[in-house]
Amino acid sequence: MTAQPPSPVGITPAVVEIGADGWACAGAWTLDGIPGLEQRLAGLPAARCCPSTGSGRTGVLPGSVRLDTAAITALDTSGALQLLKLIATLEQQGSRVHLHGLRETHRELLELVRNRREAAGALTPQIKTENGLVRLGQATLLHLSSGFLFLSFVGEAALALARVVLQPTRLRGRALMVAIETAGVNALPIIALLSFMMGIVIAYQGGRQLEFYGANIFIVELVSLTMLRELAPLITAIIVAGRTGSSYTAQIGTMQVTEEVDALRTIGIPPMDLLVLPKLLGLTVALPLLTLFADALSVFGGMVMAQVMLDVSFQDFLDRFPRVVTLTSFMIGIGKAPVFAAIIALVGCYQGFRVRGGADSVGRQTTVSVVQSIFLVIAADAVFSVVLGGVGL
């Protein structure tokens, strides 16, 4: 016998032995007993599989084999599978197998396993011969089609918006208010903290250079223009994309999984009206307001730093502020916010509707939603810079 591998306490491993009058199975033919059984079987000499004839090493020997199973102490379905496989192997080698000493309960189990396996039939092999080129093509088509799908989703949303404009009673007022509260009001603390810190960072880094030239007072231009025109809208949009866009995808995606979206349709509520428009409009209202809030807090952060590091007092800062910051700079910053809001809301909702299947799909689309909306927000910001620079603003 081969050495027996360690097994859980109290379990005798399943073994097969070749005796004088045939094969004998012993031990626990259960999930705990079968580890290592295959190696033990493979270790048995193939030529001896029919000891009664005992001739040659061809492995294809006629005759019958006695399989003594009286010493099997326990049998479960996994063990029964192993036993059936052993019998099948012996039969393939041309022997008829006679089972001896099988308990009645074990015989029933063996029959059950045999019948169920036969009823299930064989697995039709999956043919998968895709080379890299095919996959590249498929991925390209997939991305192109998802681009078109997003465009058609934007179109649908625009149509729904037009219907609401023509018939304002269609607007879901309560859903709109909830959207403004969750995306806007509830985001105030995090926006406040982060934009205040951004103001401090910009003022600190810029202030060191200005101090070097003795141009301390220019900290006002530096902080105010950077923040109002560029950074506050961008930072706010990125935070909202991570915070709100992802929640839109997860919410609609989960509703998609639990068939709630279909339920809305059957009740006669277009999902566009209830799930998309309030979010789109709500965020379009909330994001400019959040940006205004971020403007104020980041300039305040800059003021604190200017006072501490550059001896520019709050009074001096605020005196200079209206003289150097034009309304145009401010409006450009605020004006970008609704565009960013539309991008975040549309991408978030669209990815939510793309969810198919279950939990993993929700996770995947949420990731895609955040990555795409941040990417598109930054891309839109770049377009704004180029266009506004082109017209001389």
């Binding site: 479960d76 996994s78 299930a120 039939g121 064989a122 697995l123 198919r356 299947g357």
Partner: protein, 266 residues
């Protein structure tokens, strides 16, 4: 392998109290389930059938009382002991609860990979066997749960519950949402598994035909405890108003007639 009388019960619940907030679900509930028995938990909606099941399988900590599985107290036991116990029972959840990112075969293989040290190929073989045992065609093994119909999902979930050849099987509404043919086949399968594997089965069900076909005893939950615990034949004779209301409706009578043509004045 049905144990002779007098063996300790597989499940022994004593003085169980569970609560959600201030809502009392169970108060001083006792229940014994003997090895090799198929026991159904029934009762009206909200009578705490699923909650009792969740308490027994250690998903919900009771407020008070004791629950013994295989002669071992499970209330307040450690992580390792819990892990060893979980190896010995399987659970079929009401909605299947298959992992949506895995194929059916991978789903069935999860407990095998977690609890045994078999090579991957052998695990796949055993998984395929369980899929066949649950009555699914072999092709289902490579499908994702979302590609299966409701009945197939239930069977795939049963295959996963059976993965470790458990001695104890919990089924939460196994035949709900199945067509009558599949439901009947499911009952037959449970009985067959019980007889050849010596399984103890605890199921929550509303299916009156299942109660007649598949169970040895039925525990009727009501008034926060077990108000009747007997084989169906005896349980329907119980004078308790809740039990009478449950079984005396047209559906209850029809199921009784189907199972016992001699009864009900027929």
């Amino acid at each position: 392998m049905i144990a002779p009388d007098g063996t300790p019960p597989v499940i022994a619940v004593r003085g169980l109290c569970t609560r959600f907030g201030r809502t009392v679900i169970h108060q001083d509930l006792d229940l014994d389930i003997a090895p090799g028995e198929v026991v159904a938990l029934v009762g009206g909606s909200g009578s705490g059938k699923t909650t009792l099941l969740r308490a027994i399988i250690m998903l919900l900590a009771p407020v008070a009382g004791s629950i013994c599985l295989f002669d071992q107290e499970v209330v307040g036991i450690g992580e390792r002991a819990t892990f060893r116990l979980r190896r010995r029972f399987g659970m079929l959840f009401q909605q299947g609860a298959l992992f949506s990112s895995l194929t059916v075969r991978e789903n069935v293989a999860v407990p095998l990979r977690e609890h045994t040290r078999l090579p991957a190929r052998q695990i796949a073989e055993i998984a395929d066997l369980k899929i066949a045992l649950a009555g699914l065609p072999a092709d289902a093994a490579v499908k994702l749960p979302r590609e299966l119909s409701g009945g197939m999902l239930k069977r795939a979930a049963l295959a996963r519950a059976l993965a470790l050849d458990p001695a104890l099987l919990f089924l939460d509404e196994p035949t709900a949402g199945l067509d009558p043919v599949s439901a009947g086949a499911f009952d037959d399968l449970v009985v067959q598994l019980k007889e050849s594997l010596g399984l103890t089965v605890v199921m929550v069900t509303h299916d009156l035909d299942s109660l007649w076909q598949a169970t040895d005893r039925v525990a009727f939950l009501g008034e926060q405890r077990v108000i009747g615990y007997a084989p169906m034949r005896e349980l329907i004779e119980s004078p308790h108003p809740l039990i009478q209301a449950y079984f005396a409706g047209p559906r209850g009578r029809a199921a009784t007639l189907r199972s016992r043509p001699d009864a009900g004045g027929g």
